[in-house]
Symmetry: C2
Subunit: 172 residues, 2 copies
């Protein structure tokens, strides 16, 4: 065996380490992904017990805070893409957790609202959910949590209107 520590391509193993980049485990997207996963891992079992996914729960919560909403508005509020929302609403309607009716003035729009049954389901999920959130807040620290969310908001702001198709003077 010839000793060639610096050239991994000497064997049959394909060469690696040839594209210098940041340690990717410390990249911002990764940090955000891991943090979010750590948080959601706490909530998912409870939601699952009630037959809800994270996204379905987001929609119910968004609807519970208002009378009714158009699909597009709901997508913005629940931070879901149109196609995802469309599918989920179909399922939630089949389960009688929401109700829809097309708007009178514009047949294209459909007004979505949470049903009585949906509210009942929410009432059964909310307590554990709030308890979990409280536990997280306590563990991490309420002040730090507020600070973190402040920074996340600032990050979002500082990237608003970057890329995404157009800045000042973008040509397509």
């Amino acid at each position: 065996m010839t000793k060639r520590p610096a050239d991994p391509a000497s064997g049959n193993a394909p060469a690696a380490r040839q594209v210098p980049m940041r340690d990717f485990s410390r990249s911002l997207p990764m940090s955000l992904l891991r943090a979010r996963e750590a948080v959601m891992r706490q909530f998912r079992p409870n939601l699952r017990e009630h037959g809800l996914t994270e996204q379905q729960w987001r929609i119910l919560r968004a609807l519970a805070a208002i009378e009714a909403a158009e699909v597009t508005e709901l997508a913005r509020t629940a931070f879901l893409l149109g196609p995802s929302l469309s599918r989920i609403l179909r399922d939630l309607e089949a389960r009688n957790l929401i109700e829809r009716k097309t708007a009178k003035t514009d047949q294209r729009r459909s007004m979505v609202s949470i049903s009585r049954e949906g509210l009942k389901l929410m009432a059964s999920v909310a307590p554990s959910s709030e308890a979990i959130y409280a536990e997280i807040t306590q563990r991490f620290g309420a002040r730090k949590l507020a600070e973190l969310q402040e920074m996340l908001g600032e990050l979002e702001q500082s990237l608003a209107g970057l890329g995404a198709g157009n800045a000042a003077g973008a040509e397509e």
Copy 2:
């Protein structure tokens, strides 16, 4: 605070607002989701131009930093679940971006490594990617970015070993 000023259930619209919860647009999961999306939105177009998804890119990056890795190890590094990784590796192998061979000592394990072609692809993607990251860093501020990542790490730490099937003292 026992005052209930508004009862929206006066019309025919299904009653809402009956399940008191935090304003969900300000919940931690939402903040994290929005922040991450704001960041990833910057990278996706570039990756897409090269026919890569975010996850495929994560895998290539993880592999470029090492000689070879077992699938399980790679899943941990790239923060992907086994089934997702399994599918992606199948596709990346079909595109000749990675190579696999089963380990000699244990037929169950398969060693994955990046191919020469994979390295070439990385080299063509990395510059724009780094440039975008630099732009983000500049906009948000390098110091603040480091601070944010520090907090995200702490959040992850403070939730490690919560829920997930075992409380204090549950040693499997």
